[in-house]
Amino acid sequence: MYDITVIGAGITGTFIARELSKYDLNILLLDKENDVANGTTKANSAIVHAGYDAAEGTLKAKFNVRGNEMFDEICRDLDVPFKRVGSLVTAFNHEEMETIRCLYQRGITNGVPDMKIINQEEIMELEGNIKEDIQGALYAKTGGIVGPWELAIALAENAVENGVELQLNRPVTAIKKGEEGYRITAGNSTYKTKIIINCAGVYADQIDQMINEKTFEILPNRGEYNLFDKSMGNLVNTVVFGCPSAAGKGTVILPTVHGNLLLGPTAEPIDNKEDTRTTFEGLTTINDHARDTLKQIGFSEVITSFSGIRAKVETKDFIIEKAAGKEDFINVAGIDSPGLTAAPAIAEYVTEMAKESAASMGMSFNKKETFNNRRTPSIHFMELSRKEQEGLIEKDSRFGRVICRCENITEGEIVDVINRKAGATTLDGVKRRARPGSGRCQGGFCAPRVMEILARELNVEMKDVLKDGLGSYILTEQTK
């Protein structure tokens, strides 16, 4: 019997699981996918928002501003790439100037620090590649960029290090309430738990309705992105938002924490929650926006395109509440933008809710002394000093063997991410953790080598190494 089961190991679920792991509880973290962070968390804008966007008084406004403050510490503790590069909302005409003034006012109401409206000259100093006819911009110094899946993976890893049980490939298909809590059917397993926290992203409504009256519906909305080679990585220095309008929140042009350039997203309501395709139209739209905003950009430098599905809801605010009449079922739903930024604050809040529930259920909920807030430090070989590099190779010669030629990732780093808690078991899992294959050749050269290392470390056959999900085999059989 688990005390608490968190359904969904995306950014919200992993943050909550890790927060709960500070307490002496028996915690289960379930996900339907073959890796953590495999839904919306792996395909979004990777932005830590300042907090002027969300309407006054909403949960989004509250948790965005609070969450933003928490990023420095959490990313330091978990050794996750995070840069407070600042953000700009651009205004190219009178109407857009009005909009950014409204955003500024809203930011003040929401409690966003360090904002100002800057003029053309000031913009040019920050962003020399933005077109000269820009009139002004809302500059928020607290805006930032983060590695979203790296963060969720680090949270899962740290949660597991602190005693959380992680179970992957466990799609929840039924939830029954018994005399002693819930019985969850997930994949071929069943789990008993006292409290359920539903962080199932685009499937949060389905999970909720397995046991509760329908009170909300997830409206999946797809956003497409183009990721550019590092040669385009310094086209912008800050997160450059297009001005939001009736048509949408505006497209973003931003550097990533790894030095690439990211464009996106589109916003398109879709029916199928798994429909992560990209389209000619979508990718053209975001490229056109960049062409309108920047003086120069090389579209031939796109290294990959992708799309993510966001979990929107009718009310347009986060739904973070107990199910009607239930102390032991907490919904954390509708976590679309700024969900990534808000996640640490949501975790704090949900933990308090769980604590209240526990109290009402007579369940103990005490801090444990053994909690370790730091995960085993990750290794980024190329970022080390020469001396550290030499020391590492001395200790383990696999750090002397470069596997990924584009990003210069060594065998040592790949072995490390496979052998960690919540470690990589797939080609994409390795890529999300250590980055081989995320460069310009997109794994053309290194995929066979990484597969070989995975096969060796996991003691499986080469042809059983997967790209990502359970059906994503790469090789079919041996020749001959």
Binding site: R277, R401, C406, Q442
Partner: protein
């Protein structure tokens, strides 16, 4: 710090030929650095024949062609390091490399030859819409899996791009038991050799869909279907022409890109069209003493030409080390115009010319009955007839520039002229 006269980066056909030729021309300490586990580069996975007709006057397979050079290199006692990654090359020819056994290596060379080859263009670069499942792979990666590692990459295969690797893989996968459903090509003509269209597609009844591209990929975990459509003159898909194939694999053979990250780290000037370094008559880049050859300079269609070009680079690297290469600052710039997309070398120093100079170039379209015309300023110095030219087939032109009066130093241009009456 290790010291060498010449360090060759890359142990594929270009690096092997350059190192051997440098040694033959008197260079003593030569080191070849190879990132793969064996020498020979991409030739080791090109198990088909068609190599060596020019260099050896016989038809060899890729591994055979490679082995002749590898053997010669070993026989000559040229030093090489395998599984060794070069991390950085500086303008003053300091090289930082790394491998398992020796850790980080700091090497200083009098001359460097860049021979890193090229990489394949990927899905991202050509904006193929659809999902991102397993089963989408570049043809070269599949070739390595099938020919060297002994694994099939799929059972029902569609190929995008009719360059030679795509065509060769269509046959190869068919022979190994896969069903190749077709090859789609964006252009109105194939980028591959006719011989490959006949022997790799027609022999096996594999359809070639010219002026088609992929408009959708379906499947969450593994490719389930791929849809292609015809494109108009501006390469835009035409609605209503879609064909959907149930398949588990999409192979991409959509072009090669010279690998010049190290060249950039050394501050070498690159050609916008070739995406490789600008080189002079000695195959020397914009940084003195750093030479380049093979696919890192421009993508070749025959390895024989890579060998020729790399011998030139190796020979000149040796001459540079011995001080025999002249550099007085006199230069003629070389440019492809009117139908000629690029010319290599991009620059010549008349004082180093002995005998005829070879220029390699590619044209921008398929033409019949044309002339390649070389001019210095307005003066035509050579005009050569060609019955057929195409972007997929590199052209070469020998020019005798030995007796140019230095006073007439001017730009050399090469252009394509349609023959009258044709």
């Amino acid at each position: 710090m290790l010291n060498y006269e010449i360090v060759v980066i890359g142990g594929g056909p270009a690096g092997l030929a350059a190192a051997i030729e440098a040694k033959k021309n008197g260079a003593k300490d030569i080191l070849v650095l190879e990132r793969d586990m064996e020498l020979g580069g991409i030739l080791q996975q090109c198990i088909h024949n068609g190599f060596g007709l020019h260099v050896f006057k016989e038809e060899l397979t890729g591994p055979e062609y490679a082995e002749r050079f590898i053997q010669e290199l070993k026989d000559m006692g040229i030093e090489y390091k395998l599984d060794t990654m070069v991390l950085e090359v500086s303008r003053d020819k300091k090289i930082r490399a790394m491998n398992r056994e020796e850790g980080i290596l700091n090497i200083h060379a009098k001359a460097v030859v860049l021979a890193m080859g090229c990489r394949e263009r990927t899905r991202g670069a050509i904006r193929i819409p659809g999902t991102r499942p397993a089963g989408v792979m570049t043809a070269g990666t599949a070739q390595r899996f099938v020919n060297m590692e002994g694994y099939m990459t799929g059972k029902r295969v569609l190929i995008l791009g009719s360059g030679d690797i795509g065509l060769i893989m269509a046959r190869r996968l068919t022979l190994e038991g896969a069903e190749v459903l077709g090859v789609a090509e964006l252009m109105p003509f194939s980028g591959g050799l006719n011989r490959n269209i006949v022997q790799c597609l027609e022999d096996y009844d594999i359809p070639l869909y010219l002026q088609h591209t992929v408009v959708d990929i379906e499947g969450k975990d593994r490719v389930e279907a791929v849809t292609i459509a015809q494109v108009d003159d501006r390469y835009k898909p035409i609605k209503g022409t879609e064909k959907r194939f149930d398949c588990d694999t999409l192979l991409l053979s959509v072009g090669l890109i010279p690998e010049n990250e190290l060249s950039k780290s050394a501050g070498i000037t690159l050609d916008r069209i070739t995406a490789g370094p600008n080189v002079n008559e000695a195959m020397e880049t914009s940084v003195e003493g750093i030479f380049a050859c093979g696919n890192v300079v421009h993508v070749h269609d025959l390895v024989d030409w890579v060998t020729e070009e790399s011998r030139k680079a190796g020979r000149n690297a040796a001459r540079y080390v011995s001080g025999a290469l002249k550099n007085t600052g006199n230069k003629i710039s070389v440019q492809g115009i009117k139908g000629v997309r690029y010319v290599v070398p991009q620059e010549i120093r008349p004082e180093n010319l002995t005998g005829k100079t070879e220029f390699m170039m590619r044209v921008d379209g398929v033409y019949q009955n044309v002339k390649l015309v070389a001019k210095i300023g307005e003066e035509v110095i050579r005009s050569v007839k060609r019955r057929h030219v195409a972007p997929g087939e590199m052209e070469n032109l020998m020019l005798d520039l030995g007796n140019i009066d230095p006073k007439n130093l001017n730009n050399l241009t090469i252009e394509l002229v349609q023959e009258e009456g044709a």
